[in-house]
Symmetry: C2
Subunit: 423 residues, 2 copies
């Protein structure tokens, strides 16, 4: 082990400059949804040059679009290919997926950026740009792990499947397509920005829309109507109560530090059209957290039950039930047991490289790991460089030291997990 | 008296057909805000042909626009003249204003109308069309009262000032302009649709906008933010409490039948942009009722105090006070004492014509009477044909019998109030 550790470390140092340039190139592709072609083509070429079996495809078709886990604002994916590169093992070892997405959220207001949003500029050891932390930096850690092992002449027994996917930010259609294409493995690592914490469990989430009804009247005789705004207060309170009940059940110590492990957030409220009229309709839109191990359908049923119970608080709701619609984005929760063998390997490498024991937590957000666990029998662990606090914000950046430290941990983890062929 | 009563009744019956045709003509002018020219020109010609001193003008100028009671979405009134016709008395009698507006609210969705919205069609004694009830029917009662007295050769001692104004639906700039032009009288009648009830008091109202602040965060870690939606629940509750306190003070028996004499209606709520984000701003828009005799400024101060008191309930509001803006429409409340001599006269004529005592109530909405009372020393009583329930709705109509009954009451009231010259 000690030997591999110092060999890997030295090799990563040698690759540092070229790898930083590569991450800069990746960040300079403004790969927002629908515009991922150029970065994916570049990654495919690189994987091919490394001798991996490369698969680049534009997803689509009924099997995908009609799949119960398919979520996307679009159904056409020209300009947004997926790329998978397989580094075939010699056989007899455990396989692993290194999954990461290349789609980034929009830059937002450019005036709030100190550098242009897709600059890739490096300052004080930080590489700046939209997607640097979420999650091109993590993807580089994965790729570099493979490059370093190849440079050291390592031959792994198990397959390493490098996945560069699209559509994670919209709900995971890219990873769903890899699964439908047949990709699976004995485990997966997803280097989303966890600030190098290990997340064996990831919260899922799904969006809902509620329509709360009232009856219109003139504001001067508002008692002749029924205010949908007043009724929506009761709905918001009922959702708050549901959130409390659901979170009181969350006894998992991984969630001990979170004030609300699986929040229900009502993010949008909109109702009424005229100050002097009683509002007859209010729309609420929100996001419901789903616990690791919980079935999405069970969470949906619990929401519906909470809304139906409103009829007992206020007979208005018996005659005018709140309409519930599940729409838009959805991320499946994921969970790996803490005694999973990949957890122990990761822990050991983490201590070896950083000198400290990794922090283990549960993520407050979903990743594509939920799909891999639920549909591909592939336990997924989320750990990566980058910090959530800068993801989706102006002046997003990543600490380059963390990218390389993570690459070292991944390289050593691949050796342990997949096994090294002596032949 | 008995003599006048039967003479007036017979003359109204003679005028019925022509008067119905005139009301049809008025309703066929689609005199929504900005499009009142043709009806006002027609009315001015008629008043001139009746021998009244006619004044037609397009209002404007600094005195109007900068007046503290000026409220309008526009500052230019081309196409929207006011018309006043004065029937000069012989002297020594009390003067009276007959005030009514010709602006109508938009027709709305034409598909919901059984006849075209400006048809003026008569079916089963009802005349249909936008503005029939609010308030061209009432205006016809006023005009017909003058015509009938003239036909009977009556010469009144006091002046009768017939006012056909614009902009009532937007807050009363038309009547404000008549006041600034110097028109005033010893009393005023306003035949808004009261279903022939007498409203000596009219509720005022004004629009407000509240901005409730929060702090944004990701929905999955919503405890890191502050939801403006949750905070707005507290604001809505505080407004509800304020409404209760204000209405508990309303001991006037005229309001005894109203569940909430001076309602505060929150008609619009809007906040947040994304289901997965914590909303950082919620806008509330509403309409505050103002009691007859209450100063608008006092009501405003009471609202501000209620919002400021939120800081004691939740320290968030101390750091992030709710912003209060008074905007858009405003109607000044009005009040005439119940023992005002015009009240007794009206009551007597009402009994004479209908055989029953009039119902006296306070209106749940404002009229231009508030301005006449507050700024022109002209006590205003609101009484007219037409029913509030159909005003502003599709298939608006007026019962023609009520229009003619009201004309008789008005004609007899003018005789009693202004006095008849024997010379």
């Amino acid at each position: 082990m000690a030997n591999w550790q110092s060999l890997v470390h030295e090799q990563v140092q040698k690759e540092r400059e070229a790898a930083t340039a590569l991450l800069q190139e990746w960040v300079r592709h403004p790969s927002v949804s629908g515009a991922e072609y150029s970065i994916q083509e570049s990654i495919a070429k690189r994987l091919a040059s490394m001798g991996l079996d490369v698969d680049l495809w534009v997803m689509g078709g009924e099997e995908l679009i009609k799949h119960p886990y398919f979520v996307s604002p679009r159904q056409q994916f020209e300009g947004s290919p997926n790329v998978v590169g397989v580094w075939k093992g010699t056989g007899g070892g455990r396989s692993i997926i290194l999954n990461g997405h290349v789609d980034v959220v929009p830059a937002g207001d450019e005036a709030q950026w100190e550098q242009p949003p897709f600059s890739g500029e490096v300052l004080d050891g930080k590489l700046y740009g939209r997607g640097a932390t979420d999650m091109k930096g993590g993807n580089l850690s994965s790729l570099l792990a493979i490059q370093v092992l190849q440079a050291l002449g390592v031959k792994l027994k198990g397959d390493v499947i490098f996945q560069s996917v699209v559509e994670e930010e919209s709900g995971g259609a890219g990873t769903l397509s890899t699964i439908l294409r047949g990709y699976k493995a004995d485990a997966a690592l997803i280097p989303e920005p966890t600030n190098m914490k290990i997340f064996p469990k990831q919260q899922g989430s799904m969006w809902f829309r509620l329509l709360v009804k009232g009856r219109s009247a003139h504001g001067g005789t508002r008692y002749e109507g029924v205010s949908a705004i007043e009724k929506s207060l009761l709905v918001v309170q009922a959702i708050g109560q549901l959130e409390k009940v659901r979170n009181d059940r969350m006894t998992d110590p991984l969630y001990a530090k979170l004030p609300i492990p699986i929040p229900i957030n009502i993010g949008v409220i909109e109702g009424g059209k005229w100050p002097s009229s009683v509002a007859d309709l209010v729309k609420l839109e929100g996001r419901m957290g789903v616990a690791p191990g919980e079935q999405m359908e069970d969470a949906k049923a619990e929401m519906q039950a909470a809304l139906s119970a409103l009829a007992q608080i206020d007979p208005w709701f018996a005659e005018h039930p709140v309409e519930l619609e599940w729409y838009g984005a959805r991320w499946v929760p994921g969970a790996v047991e803490e005694d999973h063998p990949l957890m122990e390997i990761l822990h050991n490498q983490f201590v070896a490289i950083t000198g400290e024991r990794a922090v283990v937590e549960a993520s407050p957000w979903g990743t594509d790991g939920g799909l891999l666990t639920a549909l591909a029998d592939t336990p997924a662990i989320v750990v990566g460089p980058g910090v959530t606090q800068v993801a989706h914000y102006p002046n997003e950046y990543i600490e380059l030291d963390d990218v390389f430290r993570c690459a070292e941990i991944f390289a050593l983890t691949l050796i342990e997990w997949c096994g090294v062929s002596e032949s």
